[in-house]
Amino acid sequence: MDVLLIHVLNSLLYASVLFLIAGGLSLIYGVMRIVNLAHGNIYAFGAYVTAWVVGSVAAGASMPVWLVLLPVGAVATAILGAGLEPTLLRPFYKRAEEYQLLCTFGLLMILEDVMRLFWGPYPLSASALFEGFGSLTFGESIYPTYNFLVIGVGAAAAIFLWAFIYRTKFGVVLRATSQNMRMASALGVNVNRVYVEAFTLGCFMAGLGGAIIVPSQSAVLGMGVDALVLSFIVVVIGGLGSLEGALVGAIIVGFVREAGITWFAEIELAVLYLIAALVLLVRPAGLFGRP
Protein backbone atom coordinates (compact mmCIF):
# COMPACT_ATOMS: atom_id res chain seq x y z
CA MET A 1 0.00 0.00 0.00
CA ASP A 2 2.81 2.40 0.82
CA VAL A 3 4.42 1.56 -2.47
CA LEU A 4 1.23 2.55 -4.24
CA LEU A 5 1.13 5.79 -2.30
CA ILE A 6 4.67 6.55 -3.35
CA HIS A 7 3.79 5.96 -6.99
CA VAL A 8 0.83 8.30 -6.65
CA LEU A 9 3.00 10.96 -5.05
CA ASN A 10 5.64 10.64 -7.74
CA SER A 11 2.98 11.00 -10.41
CA LEU A 12 1.65 14.12 -8.76
CA LEU A 13 5.16 15.48 -8.43
CA TYR A 14 5.74 15.06 -12.12
CA ALA A 15 2.30 16.37 -12.94
CA SER A 16 2.90 19.54 -10.94
CA VAL A 17 5.98 20.46 -12.88
CA LEU A 18 4.43 19.48 -16.19
CA PHE A 19 1.35 21.55 -15.44
CA LEU A 20 3.46 24.62 -14.87
CA ILE A 21 5.38 24.18 -18.11
CA ALA A 22 2.50 23.05 -20.32
CA GLY A 23 0.15 25.51 -18.68
CA GLY A 24 2.49 28.34 -19.58
CA LEU A 25 2.71 27.07 -23.16
CA SER A 26 -1.08 26.80 -23.40
CA LEU A 27 -1.67 30.20 -21.84
CA ILE A 28 0.62 31.87 -24.34
CA TYR A 29 -1.00 30.05 -27.22
CA GLY A 30 -4.49 30.76 -25.95
CA VAL A 31 -3.89 34.49 -25.82
CA MET A 32 -1.43 35.06 -28.62
CA ARG A 33 -1.79 32.07 -30.92
CA ILE A 34 1.92 31.46 -30.95
CA VAL A 35 3.90 28.43 -29.85
CA ASN A 36 7.30 29.21 -28.47
CA LEU A 37 9.61 26.33 -29.36
CA ALA A 38 12.09 27.68 -26.83
CA HIS A 39 9.57 27.29 -24.00
CA GLY A 40 11.25 24.15 -22.73
CA ASN A 41 14.55 25.97 -22.53
CA ILE A 42 12.87 28.73 -20.55
CA TYR A 43 11.96 26.08 -18.02
CA ALA A 44 15.57 24.89 -18.11
CA PHE A 45 16.83 28.43 -17.66
CA GLY A 46 14.68 28.83 -14.57
CA ALA A 47 16.09 25.61 -13.21
CA TYR A 48 19.67 26.70 -13.83
CA VAL A 49 19.20 30.12 -12.25
CA THR A 50 17.67 28.67 -9.12
CA ALA A 51 20.26 25.91 -8.91
CA TRP A 52 23.01 28.45 -9.26
CA VAL A 53 21.61 30.93 -6.73
CA VAL A 54 20.51 28.39 -4.16
CA GLY A 55 23.14 25.76 -4.78
CA SER A 56 26.25 27.84 -5.45
CA VAL A 57 25.90 31.50 -4.61
CA ALA A 58 24.00 31.01 -1.38
CA ALA A 59 25.48 27.59 -0.68
CA GLY A 60 26.52 28.44 2.84
CA ALA A 61 23.26 30.06 3.86
CA SER A 62 20.42 28.53 5.80
CA MET A 63 17.10 26.96 4.91
CA PRO A 64 14.91 30.07 5.28
CA VAL A 65 17.23 31.99 2.95
CA TRP A 66 17.10 29.17 0.44
CA LEU A 67 13.35 29.09 0.52
CA VAL A 68 13.14 32.79 -0.10
CA LEU A 69 15.57 32.49 -2.97
CA LEU A 70 13.87 29.47 -4.53
CA PRO A 71 11.58 31.37 -6.91
CA VAL A 72 14.46 33.42 -8.31
CA GLY A 73 14.49 31.22 -11.39
CA ALA A 74 10.90 32.14 -12.12
CA VAL A 75 11.64 35.83 -11.69
CA ALA A 76 14.57 35.53 -14.08
CA THR A 77 12.48 33.82 -16.75
CA ALA A 78 9.71 36.37 -16.32
CA ILE A 79 12.18 39.16 -16.99
CA LEU A 80 13.57 37.20 -19.93
CA GLY A 81 10.08 36.74 -21.33
CA ALA A 82 9.22 40.40 -20.92
CA GLY A 83 12.32 41.25 -22.91
CA LEU A 84 11.84 38.64 -25.61
CA GLU A 85 8.25 39.28 -26.60
CA PRO A 86 8.56 42.83 -27.91
CA THR A 87 11.93 42.24 -29.56
CA LEU A 88 11.84 38.77 -31.05
CA LEU A 89 8.21 37.76 -31.24
CA ARG A 90 6.25 40.86 -32.13
CA PRO A 91 7.88 41.28 -35.57
CA PHE A 92 6.44 37.91 -36.57
CA TYR A 93 2.78 38.16 -35.66
CA LYS A 94 1.80 39.39 -39.06
CA ARG A 95 4.04 37.04 -41.01
CA ALA A 96 3.63 33.45 -42.09
CA GLU A 97 3.78 30.98 -39.25
CA GLU A 98 6.97 29.33 -40.54
CA TYR A 99 8.97 32.44 -39.68
CA GLN A 100 7.73 32.47 -36.13
CA LEU A 101 8.66 28.81 -35.74
CA LEU A 102 12.09 29.42 -37.25
CA CYS A 103 12.70 32.36 -34.93
CA THR A 104 11.70 30.52 -31.77
CA PHE A 105 13.75 27.54 -32.89
CA GLY A 106 16.74 29.87 -33.22
CA LEU A 107 15.96 31.11 -29.74
CA LEU A 108 15.97 27.51 -28.53
CA MET A 109 19.49 27.05 -29.89
CA ILE A 110 20.66 30.34 -28.40
CA LEU A 111 19.32 29.56 -24.95
CA GLU A 112 20.83 26.08 -24.95
CA ASP A 113 24.29 27.51 -25.49
CA VAL A 114 23.73 30.46 -23.17
CA MET A 115 23.13 28.00 -20.37
CA ARG A 116 26.29 26.13 -21.34
CA LEU A 117 28.18 29.42 -21.49
CA PHE A 118 27.06 30.55 -18.04
CA TRP A 119 27.08 27.29 -16.18
CA GLY A 120 29.22 24.82 -18.11
CA PRO A 121 28.36 21.36 -19.40
CA TYR A 122 27.98 19.66 -16.03
CA PRO A 123 24.80 19.29 -13.99
CA LEU A 124 24.08 21.97 -11.42
CA SER A 125 22.25 21.03 -8.27
CA ALA A 126 20.74 22.56 -5.17
CA SER A 127 20.50 19.34 -3.25
CA ALA A 128 21.26 20.88 0.11
CA LEU A 129 17.82 22.43 0.10
CA PHE A 130 16.29 19.13 -0.88
CA GLU A 131 18.08 17.21 1.83
CA GLY A 132 17.34 19.85 4.40
CA PHE A 133 13.69 18.95 4.19
CA GLY A 134 14.33 15.44 5.36
CA SER A 135 11.92 12.67 4.69
CA LEU A 136 8.69 11.19 5.90
CA THR A 137 8.32 7.60 6.85
CA PHE A 138 5.11 5.73 6.44
CA GLY A 139 4.95 2.06 6.79
CA GLU A 140 8.15 0.67 5.38
CA SER A 141 8.75 3.45 2.88
CA ILE A 142 10.56 6.71 3.06
CA TYR A 143 9.53 9.67 0.96
CA PRO A 144 11.35 13.00 0.62
CA THR A 145 9.40 15.77 2.29
CA TYR A 146 10.54 18.32 -0.28
CA ASN A 147 8.42 16.63 -2.93
CA PHE A 148 5.32 17.67 -1.01
CA LEU A 149 6.39 21.27 -1.45
CA VAL A 150 6.56 20.76 -5.20
CA ILE A 151 3.14 19.17 -5.30
CA GLY A 152 1.83 21.95 -3.11
CA VAL A 153 3.24 24.64 -5.36
CA GLY A 154 1.71 22.95 -8.38
CA ALA A 155 -1.70 22.79 -6.76
CA ALA A 156 -1.43 26.36 -5.50
CA ALA A 157 -0.44 27.53 -8.98
CA ALA A 158 -3.47 25.85 -10.50
CA ILE A 159 -5.80 27.49 -7.99
CA PHE A 160 -4.10 30.86 -8.27
CA LEU A 161 -4.23 30.80 -12.04
CA TRP A 162 -7.88 29.86 -12.03
CA ALA A 163 -8.66 32.72 -9.71
CA PHE A 164 -6.47 35.08 -11.68
CA ILE A 165 -8.04 34.29 -15.01
CA TYR A 166 -11.64 33.96 -13.96
CA ARG A 167 -11.88 36.36 -11.07
CA THR A 168 -9.71 39.34 -11.81
CA LYS A 169 -10.06 42.25 -14.18
CA PHE A 170 -6.81 41.34 -15.87
CA GLY A 171 -8.14 37.87 -16.37
CA VAL A 172 -11.19 39.21 -18.12
CA VAL A 173 -9.01 41.28 -20.41
CA LEU A 174 -6.85 38.24 -21.06
CA ARG A 175 -9.82 36.11 -21.96
CA ALA A 176 -11.35 38.79 -24.15
CA THR A 177 -8.13 39.28 -26.05
CA SER A 178 -7.69 35.56 -26.53
CA GLN A 179 -11.17 35.16 -27.91
CA ASN A 180 -11.23 38.15 -30.18
CA MET A 181 -8.14 40.27 -30.41
CA ARG A 182 -9.54 42.80 -32.83
CA MET A 183 -12.70 43.33 -30.82
CA ALA A 184 -10.76 43.73 -27.61
CA SER A 185 -8.53 46.24 -29.29
CA ALA A 186 -11.54 48.13 -30.61
CA LEU A 187 -12.85 48.28 -27.06
CA GLY A 188 -9.71 50.03 -25.92
CA VAL A 189 -7.62 47.14 -24.69
CA ASN A 190 -3.91 47.71 -25.19
CA VAL A 191 -3.29 44.46 -27.00
CA ASN A 192 0.48 44.89 -27.09
CA ARG A 193 0.55 45.21 -23.32
CA VAL A 194 -1.71 42.21 -22.86
CA TYR A 195 0.57 40.15 -25.08
CA VAL A 196 3.69 41.07 -23.14
CA GLU A 197 1.94 40.35 -19.87
CA ALA A 198 0.60 37.01 -21.05
CA PHE A 199 3.97 35.96 -22.41
CA THR A 200 5.70 37.02 -19.21
CA LEU A 201 3.23 35.05 -17.14
CA GLY A 202 3.72 31.99 -19.31
CA CYS A 203 7.50 32.25 -18.95
CA PHE A 204 7.14 32.79 -15.23
CA MET A 205 5.19 29.55 -14.97
CA ALA A 206 7.79 27.60 -16.92
CA GLY A 207 10.60 29.08 -14.86
CA LEU A 208 8.76 28.26 -11.66
CA GLY A 209 8.48 24.66 -12.78
CA GLY A 210 12.23 24.59 -13.24
CA ALA A 211 12.88 26.37 -9.98
CA ILE A 212 10.88 24.04 -7.79
CA ILE A 213 12.08 20.81 -9.35
CA VAL A 214 15.76 21.58 -9.39
CA PRO A 215 16.51 20.82 -5.73
CA SER A 216 15.11 17.35 -6.31
CA GLN A 217 16.92 16.73 -9.59
CA SER A 218 19.81 18.69 -11.04
CA ALA A 219 19.71 21.19 -13.87
CA VAL A 220 21.27 19.56 -16.88
CA LEU A 221 21.74 20.50 -20.53
CA GLY A 222 19.09 18.98 -22.74
CA MET A 223 16.39 19.10 -20.07
CA GLY A 224 14.70 21.88 -22.00
CA VAL A 225 14.03 19.95 -25.16
CA ASP A 226 12.92 16.90 -23.19
CA ALA A 227 10.48 19.13 -21.34
CA LEU A 228 9.26 20.63 -24.62
CA VAL A 229 8.50 17.23 -26.03
CA LEU A 230 6.70 16.13 -22.86
CA SER A 231 4.66 19.30 -22.56
CA PHE A 232 3.73 18.83 -26.18
CA ILE A 233 2.22 15.48 -25.24
CA VAL A 234 0.38 17.18 -22.39
CA VAL A 235 -1.19 19.80 -24.64
CA VAL A 236 -2.05 17.23 -27.28
CA ILE A 237 -4.01 15.32 -24.68
CA GLY A 238 -5.44 18.32 -22.91
CA GLY A 239 -5.91 20.65 -25.82
CA LEU A 240 -3.72 23.57 -26.82
CA GLY A 241 -4.94 26.80 -25.31
CA SER A 242 -6.75 25.33 -22.33
CA LEU A 243 -5.50 25.52 -18.76
CA GLU A 244 -7.91 22.84 -17.58
CA GLY A 245 -6.54 20.73 -20.39
CA ALA A 246 -2.99 21.36 -19.25
CA LEU A 247 -3.94 20.27 -15.73
CA VAL A 248 -5.75 17.12 -16.79
CA GLY A 249 -3.11 16.32 -19.41
CA ALA A 250 -0.31 16.81 -16.90
CA ILE A 251 -1.96 14.46 -14.42
CA ILE A 252 -2.52 11.82 -17.07
CA VAL A 253 1.04 12.07 -18.35
CA GLY A 254 2.36 12.06 -14.78
CA PHE A 255 0.58 8.82 -13.93
CA VAL A 256 1.33 7.10 -17.21
CA ARG A 257 4.99 8.00 -17.00
CA GLU A 258 5.22 6.70 -13.45
CA ALA A 259 3.55 3.48 -14.50
CA GLY A 260 5.78 3.30 -17.54
CA ILE A 261 8.98 3.79 -15.57
CA THR A 262 7.97 1.12 -13.10
CA TRP A 263 6.97 -1.54 -15.57
CA PHE A 264 8.27 -0.71 -19.04
CA ALA A 265 11.37 1.35 -18.41
CA GLU A 266 12.74 1.11 -21.96
CA ILE A 267 9.66 2.17 -23.78
CA GLU A 268 8.12 4.60 -21.35
CA LEU A 269 8.38 7.45 -23.83
CA ALA A 270 6.86 5.28 -26.51
CA VAL A 271 3.82 4.54 -24.33
CA LEU A 272 3.27 8.24 -23.90
CA TYR A 273 3.50 8.79 -27.63
CA LEU A 274 1.01 6.02 -28.20
CA ILE A 275 -1.48 7.78 -25.96
CA ALA A 276 -0.83 11.09 -27.68
CA ALA A 277 -1.24 9.47 -31.08
CA LEU A 278 -4.51 7.89 -29.97
CA VAL A 279 -5.85 11.21 -28.73
CA LEU A 280 -4.79 12.90 -31.96
CA LEU A 281 -6.68 10.32 -33.96
CA VAL A 282 -9.85 10.32 -31.91
CA ARG A 283 -10.08 13.91 -30.75
CA PRO A 284 -7.60 16.09 -32.61
CA ALA A 285 -8.39 19.17 -30.57
CA GLY A 286 -7.57 17.40 -27.32
CA LEU A 287 -9.91 16.85 -24.40
CA PHE A 288 -10.53 20.53 -23.72
CA GLY A 289 -9.15 22.24 -26.74
CA ARG A 290 -10.79 24.49 -29.25
CA PRO A 291 -10.34 23.25 -32.80
Binding site: V35, L37, L88, P91, F92, E97, E98, Y99, L101, L102, C103, F105, G106, L107, L108, M109, I110, L111, E112, D113, V114, R116, L117, V225, D226, L228, V229, F232, I233, V236, L240, E266, L269, A270, Y273, A277, L280, P284
Partner: protein
Amino acid sequence: MSVPPSRPRPASSTARALRVAVPVVVLLALVPLILPAYGAILLAYGLVMAIAALGFNLLLGYTGLLSFGHSAYFGVGAYAVALMVKYLKVGSMELFLVGAIVAAVLITALFGVVCVRYTTIFFGILTLALSQVLWSLAFKFFWVTGGTDGLRVPTPSLFAGLVTGSGDKIVFMSHAYYYYVLIVFCLCVALMWVIVNSPFGMALQAIRDNETRAEFVGVRIWRYRWVAFLVSGVFTGLAGALWVPLNGLTTPDIMHWTFSGEIVFMTVLGGFRSFAGPIIGAVVFNYLKTYAVGYTVYWQLLLGAVLVGLVLSLPTGIVGTAGRLAARLQGRH
Protein backbone atom coordinates in the same frame (compact mmCIF):
# COMPACT_ATOMS: atom_id res chain seq x y z
CA MET B 1 -6.36 41.07 -79.42
CA SER B 2 -3.61 39.13 -81.22
CA VAL B 3 -3.21 35.46 -80.51
CA PRO B 4 -0.15 34.98 -78.33
CA PRO B 5 2.25 32.09 -78.97
CA SER B 6 0.83 29.01 -77.38
CA ARG B 7 3.65 28.01 -75.12
CA PRO B 8 6.91 29.76 -74.46
CA ARG B 9 6.74 28.06 -71.14
CA PRO B 10 9.40 26.94 -68.67
CA ALA B 11 10.71 24.15 -70.85
CA SER B 12 13.00 27.11 -71.28
CA SER B 13 13.48 27.27 -67.53
CA THR B 14 14.93 23.77 -67.61
CA ALA B 15 17.14 24.88 -70.48
CA ARG B 16 18.18 27.92 -68.45
CA ALA B 17 18.89 25.74 -65.44
CA LEU B 18 21.07 23.44 -67.51
CA ARG B 19 23.06 26.39 -68.80
CA VAL B 20 24.00 27.14 -65.19
CA ALA B 21 24.28 23.57 -63.97
CA VAL B 22 26.59 22.14 -66.61
CA PRO B 23 29.51 24.53 -66.00
CA VAL B 24 29.07 24.06 -62.27
CA VAL B 25 29.22 20.29 -62.59
CA VAL B 26 32.33 20.56 -64.75
CA LEU B 27 33.94 22.75 -62.09
CA LEU B 28 32.98 20.30 -59.38
CA ALA B 29 34.47 17.49 -61.41
CA LEU B 30 37.77 19.30 -61.61
CA VAL B 31 38.03 19.85 -57.87
CA PRO B 32 40.10 16.75 -56.99
CA LEU B 33 42.58 17.82 -59.62
CA ILE B 34 42.84 21.39 -58.38
CA LEU B 35 42.40 21.25 -54.62
CA PRO B 36 44.36 19.19 -52.13
CA ALA B 37 42.78 16.01 -50.79
CA TYR B 38 41.37 17.75 -47.76
CA GLY B 39 39.55 20.27 -49.95
CA ALA B 40 37.88 17.57 -52.03
CA ILE B 41 36.78 15.63 -48.97
CA LEU B 42 35.35 18.77 -47.40
CA LEU B 43 33.40 19.51 -50.55
CA ALA B 44 32.17 15.91 -50.59
CA TYR B 45 30.69 16.51 -47.14
CA GLY B 46 29.10 19.68 -48.49
CA LEU B 47 27.53 17.86 -51.44
CA VAL B 48 26.16 15.19 -49.11
CA MET B 49 24.57 17.86 -46.93
CA ALA B 50 23.21 19.49 -50.06
CA ILE B 51 21.31 16.31 -50.90
CA ALA B 52 19.86 16.26 -47.39
CA ALA B 53 18.85 19.92 -47.57
CA LEU B 54 17.36 19.41 -51.05
CA GLY B 55 15.15 16.68 -49.63
CA PHE B 56 14.22 18.79 -46.63
CA ASN B 57 13.23 21.71 -48.80
CA LEU B 58 10.77 19.68 -50.85
CA LEU B 59 8.70 19.81 -47.68
CA LEU B 60 9.43 23.38 -46.60
CA GLY B 61 9.79 25.41 -49.75
CA TYR B 62 7.44 23.49 -52.00
CA THR B 63 4.85 21.94 -49.66
CA GLY B 64 4.92 24.49 -46.85
CA LEU B 65 5.74 21.99 -44.08
CA LEU B 66 8.55 22.87 -41.67
CA SER B 67 10.10 19.74 -40.20
CA PHE B 68 12.32 19.91 -37.14
CA GLY B 69 13.12 16.24 -37.22
CA HIS B 70 14.97 15.51 -40.43
CA SER B 71 18.01 14.33 -38.55
CA ALA B 72 15.98 11.17 -37.94
CA TYR B 73 15.98 10.20 -41.60
CA PHE B 74 19.63 11.09 -42.07
CA GLY B 75 20.35 8.89 -39.09
CA VAL B 76 18.16 6.09 -40.39
CA GLY B 77 20.17 6.08 -43.62
CA ALA B 78 23.47 6.14 -41.77
CA TYR B 79 22.53 3.43 -39.30
CA ALA B 80 21.05 1.27 -42.04
CA VAL B 81 24.50 1.24 -43.62
CA ALA B 82 26.27 0.61 -40.33
CA LEU B 83 23.93 -2.23 -39.42
CA MET B 84 24.36 -3.76 -42.85
CA VAL B 85 28.08 -3.80 -42.20
CA LYS B 86 27.68 -5.18 -38.70
CA TYR B 87 25.13 -7.91 -39.30
CA LEU B 88 25.18 -8.65 -43.02
CA LYS B 89 28.89 -8.11 -43.60
CA VAL B 90 28.05 -6.12 -46.69
CA GLY B 91 30.63 -3.85 -48.25
CA SER B 92 29.12 -2.63 -51.49
CA MET B 93 28.13 1.03 -51.73
CA GLU B 94 25.27 0.20 -54.06
CA LEU B 95 23.81 -2.20 -51.53
CA PHE B 96 24.28 0.43 -48.85
CA LEU B 97 22.24 2.90 -50.88
CA VAL B 98 19.49 0.39 -51.50
CA GLY B 99 19.38 -0.53 -47.82
CA ALA B 100 19.25 3.11 -46.78
CA ILE B 101 16.43 3.84 -49.21
CA VAL B 102 14.40 0.89 -47.98
CA ALA B 103 14.92 1.85 -44.34
CA ALA B 104 14.08 5.49 -45.04
CA VAL B 105 10.91 4.53 -46.92
CA LEU B 106 9.72 2.42 -44.00
CA ILE B 107 10.37 5.03 -41.34
CA THR B 108 9.07 8.02 -43.30
CA ALA B 109 5.97 6.11 -44.39
CA LEU B 110 5.22 5.41 -40.73
CA PHE B 111 6.10 8.85 -39.40
CA GLY B 112 4.41 10.51 -42.34
CA VAL B 113 1.07 8.89 -41.60
CA VAL B 114 1.13 10.52 -38.18
CA CYS B 115 2.65 13.85 -39.10
CA VAL B 116 0.97 14.97 -42.31
CA ARG B 117 -2.45 15.26 -40.77
CA TYR B 118 -1.21 18.41 -39.11
CA THR B 119 0.34 21.63 -40.18
CA THR B 120 2.79 24.18 -38.96
CA ILE B 121 2.99 24.08 -35.17
CA PHE B 122 1.82 20.55 -34.52
CA PHE B 123 3.69 19.23 -37.53
CA GLY B 124 6.89 20.92 -36.37
CA ILE B 125 6.76 19.64 -32.81
CA LEU B 126 5.59 16.20 -33.90
CA THR B 127 8.55 15.80 -36.24
CA LEU B 128 10.88 17.02 -33.50
CA ALA B 129 9.38 14.63 -30.98
CA LEU B 130 9.55 11.61 -33.28
CA SER B 131 13.18 12.26 -34.10
CA GLN B 132 13.98 12.50 -30.39
CA VAL B 133 12.32 9.13 -29.87
CA LEU B 134 14.57 7.59 -32.53
CA TRP B 135 17.59 9.26 -30.98
CA SER B 136 16.79 7.89 -27.56
CA LEU B 137 16.22 4.44 -29.04
CA ALA B 138 19.68 4.59 -30.59
CA PHE B 139 21.00 5.02 -27.06
CA LYS B 140 18.81 2.54 -25.28
CA PHE B 141 19.42 -0.33 -27.66
CA PHE B 142 23.16 0.07 -27.37
CA TRP B 143 23.85 -3.59 -27.94
CA VAL B 144 22.54 -3.10 -31.45
CA THR B 145 23.61 0.43 -32.22
CA GLY B 146 26.81 0.66 -30.26
CA GLY B 147 25.34 3.40 -28.05
CA THR B 148 27.47 6.50 -27.71
CA ASP B 149 30.47 4.72 -29.18
CA GLY B 150 28.53 4.27 -32.36
CA LEU B 151 29.31 1.87 -35.18
CA ARG B 152 32.28 1.92 -37.50
CA VAL B 153 31.91 1.62 -41.24
CA PRO B 154 34.90 0.65 -43.35
CA THR B 155 35.63 1.92 -46.83
CA PRO B 156 33.02 0.50 -49.18
CA SER B 157 33.52 -0.82 -52.66
CA LEU B 158 32.06 1.29 -55.44
CA PHE B 159 30.38 0.50 -58.77
CA ALA B 160 29.51 -3.07 -57.90
CA GLY B 161 32.97 -3.88 -56.62
CA LEU B 162 34.90 -2.42 -59.51
CA VAL B 163 36.56 0.19 -57.36
CA THR B 164 37.79 -0.77 -53.94
CA GLY B 165 39.43 1.29 -51.27
CA SER B 166 42.37 -0.98 -50.79
CA GLY B 167 44.93 1.73 -51.20
CA ASP B 168 45.40 4.96 -49.35
CA LYS B 169 42.14 5.95 -47.68
CA ILE B 170 42.61 9.69 -48.12
CA VAL B 171 43.31 9.27 -51.83
CA PHE B 172 40.29 7.02 -52.16
CA MET B 173 38.00 9.48 -50.40
CA SER B 174 39.26 12.50 -52.26
CA HIS B 175 39.09 10.90 -55.68
CA ALA B 176 37.05 7.76 -56.23
CA TYR B 177 34.55 8.40 -53.45
CA TYR B 178 34.36 12.09 -54.26
CA TYR B 179 33.33 11.30 -57.83
CA TYR B 180 30.83 8.76 -56.59
CA VAL B 181 29.23 11.39 -54.35
CA LEU B 182 29.28 13.87 -57.21
CA ILE B 183 27.46 11.46 -59.51
CA VAL B 184 24.80 10.68 -56.91
CA PHE B 185 24.50 14.39 -56.19
CA CYS B 186 23.89 15.20 -59.84
CA LEU B 187 21.31 12.43 -60.12
CA CYS B 188 19.53 13.66 -57.00
CA VAL B 189 19.49 17.24 -58.21
CA ALA B 190 18.15 16.19 -61.60
CA LEU B 191 15.47 14.00 -60.05
CA MET B 192 14.40 16.71 -57.61
CA TRP B 193 14.25 19.23 -60.45
CA VAL B 194 11.91 17.00 -62.39
CA ILE B 195 9.78 16.35 -59.32
CA VAL B 196 9.27 20.00 -58.42
CA ASN B 197 8.57 20.93 -62.03
CA SER B 198 6.14 18.09 -62.57
CA PRO B 199 2.34 18.28 -62.22
CA PHE B 200 2.86 16.67 -58.82
CA GLY B 201 5.22 19.48 -57.88
CA MET B 202 2.60 22.02 -58.92
CA ALA B 203 0.06 20.26 -56.75
CA LEU B 204 2.41 20.49 -53.76
CA GLN B 205 2.82 24.21 -54.30
CA ALA B 206 -0.93 24.59 -54.56
CA ILE B 207 -1.30 22.81 -51.23
CA ARG B 208 1.33 25.12 -49.79
CA ASP B 209 -0.40 28.25 -51.05
CA ASN B 210 -3.99 27.40 -50.34
CA GLU B 211 -4.99 24.11 -48.85
CA THR B 212 -8.73 24.61 -49.17
CA ARG B 213 -8.59 25.66 -52.81
CA ALA B 214 -6.25 22.82 -53.63
CA GLU B 215 -8.83 20.43 -52.29
CA PHE B 216 -11.53 22.14 -54.33
CA VAL B 217 -9.47 21.77 -57.43
CA GLY B 218 -9.38 18.05 -56.84
CA VAL B 219 -6.07 17.50 -55.06
CA ARG B 220 -6.11 14.99 -52.21
CA ILE B 221 -4.16 16.94 -49.63
CA TRP B 222 -3.31 14.23 -47.16
CA ARG B 223 -2.11 11.83 -49.80
CA TYR B 224 0.13 14.30 -51.59
CA ARG B 225 1.67 15.57 -48.38
CA TRP B 226 2.46 12.02 -47.39
CA VAL B 227 4.22 11.31 -50.68
CA ALA B 228 6.18 14.55 -50.37
CA PHE B 229 7.16 13.52 -46.83
CA LEU B 230 8.30 10.15 -48.14
CA VAL B 231 10.39 11.57 -50.97
CA SER B 232 11.86 14.18 -48.65
CA GLY B 233 12.87 11.61 -46.07
CA VAL B 234 14.34 9.26 -48.66
CA PHE B 235 16.58 11.97 -50.12
CA THR B 236 17.80 12.80 -46.62
CA GLY B 237 18.29 9.13 -45.79
CA LEU B 238 20.32 8.70 -48.96
CA ALA B 239 22.50 11.57 -47.82
CA GLY B 240 23.01 9.81 -44.51
CA ALA B 241 24.15 6.69 -46.32
CA LEU B 242 26.66 8.65 -48.38
CA TRP B 243 27.92 10.40 -45.27
CA VAL B 244 28.82 7.36 -43.20
CA PRO B 245 31.77 6.07 -45.24
CA LEU B 246 33.16 9.62 -45.34
CA ASN B 247 32.91 9.88 -41.60
CA GLY B 248 33.93 6.29 -40.98
CA LEU B 249 31.61 6.19 -38.00
CA THR B 250 28.00 6.85 -37.08
CA THR B 251 26.86 7.93 -33.62
CA PRO B 252 23.48 8.88 -32.16
CA ASP B 253 24.47 12.55 -32.43
CA ILE B 254 23.30 12.73 -36.00
CA MET B 255 19.76 11.89 -34.91
CA HIS B 256 19.72 14.61 -32.28
CA TRP B 257 17.60 17.70 -32.76
CA THR B 258 20.69 19.88 -33.00
CA PHE B 259 21.47 18.29 -36.33
CA SER B 260 17.90 18.87 -37.50
CA GLY B 261 18.52 22.48 -36.58
CA GLU B 262 21.57 22.54 -38.83
CA ILE B 263 19.57 21.24 -41.76
CA VAL B 264 16.92 23.90 -41.15
CA PHE B 265 19.61 26.54 -40.81
CA MET B 266 21.48 25.72 -43.99
CA THR B 267 18.27 25.72 -45.99
CA VAL B 268 17.13 29.08 -44.62
CA LEU B 269 20.65 30.42 -45.13
CA GLY B 270 20.60 29.47 -48.78
CA GLY B 271 17.02 30.55 -49.29
CA PHE B 272 14.14 28.13 -48.98
CA ARG B 273 12.00 29.75 -51.62
CA SER B 274 14.30 28.70 -54.41
CA PHE B 275 15.49 25.45 -55.91
CA ALA B 276 19.22 26.09 -55.58
CA GLY B 277 19.00 27.77 -52.17
CA PRO B 278 19.33 24.59 -50.09
CA ILE B 279 22.27 23.41 -52.20
CA ILE B 280 24.18 26.64 -51.85
CA GLY B 281 23.24 26.98 -48.21
CA ALA B 282 24.47 23.48 -47.43
CA VAL B 283 27.83 23.92 -49.12
CA VAL B 284 28.40 27.36 -47.56
CA PHE B 285 27.30 26.14 -44.17
CA ASN B 286 29.62 23.19 -44.36
CA TYR B 287 32.59 25.49 -44.89
CA LEU B 288 31.42 27.89 -42.19
CA LYS B 289 31.03 25.10 -39.69
CA THR B 290 34.41 23.59 -40.39
CA TYR B 291 36.15 26.88 -39.77
CA ALA B 292 33.94 28.23 -37.01
CA VAL B 293 33.94 25.11 -34.90
CA GLY B 294 37.65 25.65 -34.50
CA TYR B 295 37.00 29.08 -33.03
CA THR B 296 34.24 28.52 -30.58
CA VAL B 297 32.50 25.86 -28.60
CA TYR B 298 29.33 27.92 -28.58
CA TRP B 299 28.43 26.91 -32.08
CA GLN B 300 24.69 26.58 -31.30
CA LEU B 301 24.61 30.15 -30.02
CA LEU B 302 26.10 31.43 -33.24
CA LEU B 303 23.74 29.36 -35.39
CA GLY B 304 20.72 30.42 -33.40
CA ALA B 305 21.62 34.09 -33.50
CA VAL B 306 22.29 34.03 -37.23
CA LEU B 307 19.05 32.12 -37.84
CA VAL B 308 17.05 34.70 -35.95
CA GLY B 309 18.87 37.46 -37.84
CA LEU B 310 18.20 35.78 -41.18
CA VAL B 311 14.53 35.36 -40.46
CA LEU B 312 14.22 38.93 -39.27
CA SER B 313 16.03 40.69 -42.07
CA LEU B 314 17.06 38.35 -44.88
CA PRO B 315 14.29 35.77 -45.09
CA THR B 316 15.03 34.92 -48.70
CA GLY B 317 18.52 33.78 -47.85
CA ILE B 318 21.60 33.95 -50.02
CA VAL B 319 19.88 33.11 -53.29
CA GLY B 320 16.97 35.47 -52.75
CA THR B 321 19.14 38.35 -51.62
CA ALA B 322 21.58 37.80 -54.47
CA GLY B 323 18.68 37.78 -56.89
CA ARG B 324 17.37 41.08 -55.55
CA LEU B 325 20.81 42.65 -55.70
CA ALA B 326 21.31 41.46 -59.26
CA ALA B 327 17.95 42.87 -60.29
CA ARG B 328 18.77 46.19 -58.70
CA LEU B 329 22.15 46.32 -60.41
CA GLN B 330 20.44 45.73 -63.72
CA GLY B 331 18.28 48.71 -62.93
CA ARG B 332 15.04 46.80 -62.97
CA HIS B 333 13.79 48.07 -59.66
